[in-house]
Amino acid sequence: MEVPKELEKKADEAICHYPPEEQRSAALPLLHLVQQEFGFINDDAISWVADKLGVEPIKILELVTFYPGFRQAAPGKYHIRVCRTLSCAMAGCHQTMEKICEIAGIDRSNVSHHDPVAVSSDGKFSIEFAECLASCGTGPVCLIGDDFHEEVKPGNAKALLRQYK
């Protein structure tokens, strides 16, 4: 794995936020940096983070497999997370999900608890349900990459996706 200098620099900086004898604390920040850079976290990246922090790779792998925010496979160019939880569901998030999948050409029939992300055939979009995005008053809500969108209904889904070229 080739690590860009900038990433190495940011990682070293993140490690400084924790006491010198507690560097393992930087595991989540480093994994975020890796995922931001490469889109997902592979075995090489896990070994790199483990080396950086002086822990066994299993100590990093167990984080990647536990936390829903980390991915081990490449998402689409734009990753969408639609809130699935009660207030958004009452506001129609399942219809929103269906509509986005239809527009983006995503087939969700094979998703499961351990493999929740579905990618469009052209690789442009990927999608998954999220467990509460904490904006229950303006549902259905979704995140596209780091952009937050409120009141995403089947009627305005097309216009929303068009912003992502």
């Binding site: 984080l63 536990f66 829903p68 925010g69 939880t85 009660l86 399942h94 509460c132």
Partner: protein, 468 residues
């Protein structure tokens, strides 16, 4: 400080008492330190730095401030649990993992008024003797993390962070630490494990009370975003004066987040206990949607026990015992507890008569099944069983014994787990099934007995329910 004006369409309701949300949706407001200083920002910090740390804690104790994250534990008392003869470093953690479904208050504080939070963190760090504070922010707030980092940098440039803060001997660093999408990180010991770079398996109490054995086994205070913001106002007005806001034992203001089947969902900052559930729904939220009737309310985030329209409760106030209905419940910690539920995180989810309670419970059960950390068997297995049973009911495969089985699974989780997630996941099932038995029976049929032993196979075959 001028009286703020608010954006058109986002004006606070006249019954609101904006303090924490003073700058939310304010005309001409920006989350920058210039604006914050112009508005009198960081004066409370400077005031606190002239006091003894113990005196700051005493003010917070006198204010009666109770934690706004869910449990409602008195903040000053929590701070007082740090062992008096402690020689280890002390840490302060701001819990910005806002993830209880129905709750969306911390998002607005972080996005629109980050310096209020930083000021609250600095005052609190000074009081408890912390030189390092971490803001543990959920991964789903990427923009919030950037805003906080920028605000921290601004505070540093202004001499309000680092060493010699505001020209005094006080030193403190604040770091933003992003989570990775796990609800259990809102539980304080789970959060601490996560901050140590581990899976967020909650620790058992005793002995691991964070105030004694927290982050890196050092004394650690974990407070919610809103609670820390209140500390600023407690110092600004003095604990005693603050305690006159709200009602006895339920002091101050708090932000209620309303979602679901009301005309105008949103956030409302009220004096605690000075408003009833009925006033909240009918006046502040404009009532139920057209032609619909109130059916049920979850009053404090999705783990709070559901309240059914038409129920009566016996509560005790200054005039003695009285019987009240759902609409008459004062929105405070003790009244909601007396009604068998909780004020929790302030997330009020309103449901009208079009809602199928089995569908609602299934949605909640799916959340908790997804979020159980898996450490304790009753919760790991039970949360999934409760989801599977409601899955099966909604898929048309429910059998009459399911209602009883569902209740019994719920009854066997609460009280049998390391952390309060056990209660959080079983309270919805226990309360929904007890209060709406007919809605669950509707989804069961005698002719299904023996047919659908594996609900997943049935569900998967027919694609009836989302697999998440």
């Amino acid at each position: 400080m001028a009286n703020p004006r608010y954006l058109e369409g986002k004006k606070p309701h006249p019954r609101e008492a904006r303090m924490i949300f003073r700058n939310v949706d304010r005309v001409g407001w920006k989350p920058s330190i210039e604006k914050y200083l112009e508005d009198g920002g960081y004066k409370s910090l400077k005031k606190a730095l002239k006091m003894e740390p113990a005196a700051v804690t005493d003010e917070v104790k006198a204010s009666g401030l109770r934690g706004r994250g869910g449990a409602g534990f008195p903040t000053g008392v929590k701070w007082g649990f740090i062992p008096p003869n402690n020689s280890k470093p002390v840490y302060l953690i701001c819990n910005a993992d806002e993830s209880e479904p129905g709750t969306f208050k911390d998002r607005y504080i972080i996005h629109q008024d980050p310096h209020q939070l930083i000021e609250g963190i600095l005052i609190s760090s000074y009081a408890v003797g912390a030189k390092i504070a971490y803001i543990y922010i959920r991964e789903e707030f990427p923009e919030g993390a950037v805003i906080l980092e920028r605000a921290i940098e601004e505070a540093r440039q202004a001499g309000l962070l680092g060493t010699k803060i505001a020209g005094t001997g006080f030193e403190c660093e604040i770091y933003v630490h992003r989570g990775a999408g796990a609800y259990i990180c809102g539980e304080e010991t789970g959060l601490i494990e996560s901050l140590e770079g581990k899976r967020p398996y909650p620790r058992i109490k005793p002995p691991y009370f964070p105030a004694a054995l927290g982050l890196y086994m050092c004394p650690t205070i974990v407070n919610n975003v809103e609670s820390l913001c209140h500390v600023k106002h407690v110092i600004s007005m003095g604990g005693k004066k603050y305690s006159r806001l709200g009602t006895t034992r339920n002091t101050g203001t708090r932000i209620l987040c309303v979602s679901g089947d009301v005309q105008h969902p949103g956030y409302f900052e009220i004096e605690v206990g000075k408003l009833t559930m009925g006033e909240l729904i009918n006046d502040l939220c404009g009532g139920m949607k057209k032609g619909r009737k109130l059916k049920a309310v979850i009053p404090g985030g999705s783990s709070a026990k559901v309240l059914r329209a038409g129920e009566t409760y016996t509560i005790r106030d200054g005039d003695g015992e009285k019987t009240i209905g759902l609409s008459d419940i004062p929105m405070d910690f003790d009244s909601l507890a007396a009604c068998g539920s909780m004020a929790g995180s302030g997330g009020v989810i309103v449901m009208d008569d079009s809602r199928d309670m089995a569908w609602v419970l299934n949605n909640i059960n799916t959340f908790y099944a997804h979020e159980s950390c898996g450490q304790c068997t009753p919760c790991r297995e039970g949360s999934l069983w409760m989801k599977k049973i409601t899955d099966r009911m909604l898929a048309g495969g429910g059998v009459p014994s399911d209602v009883e089985t569902l209740a019994s699974v719920g009854d066997n989780i609460a009280g049998r787990t390391i952390c309060a997630f056990g209660e959080a996941c079983s309270w919805p099932t226990q309360s929904f099934v007890a209060k709406f038995p007919e809605e669950f029976k509707k989804h069961t049929k005698r002719r299904n007995v023996g047919k659908f032993l594996n609900p997943e196979a049935k569900v998967a075959a027919e694609g009836l329910i989302d697999k998440n």
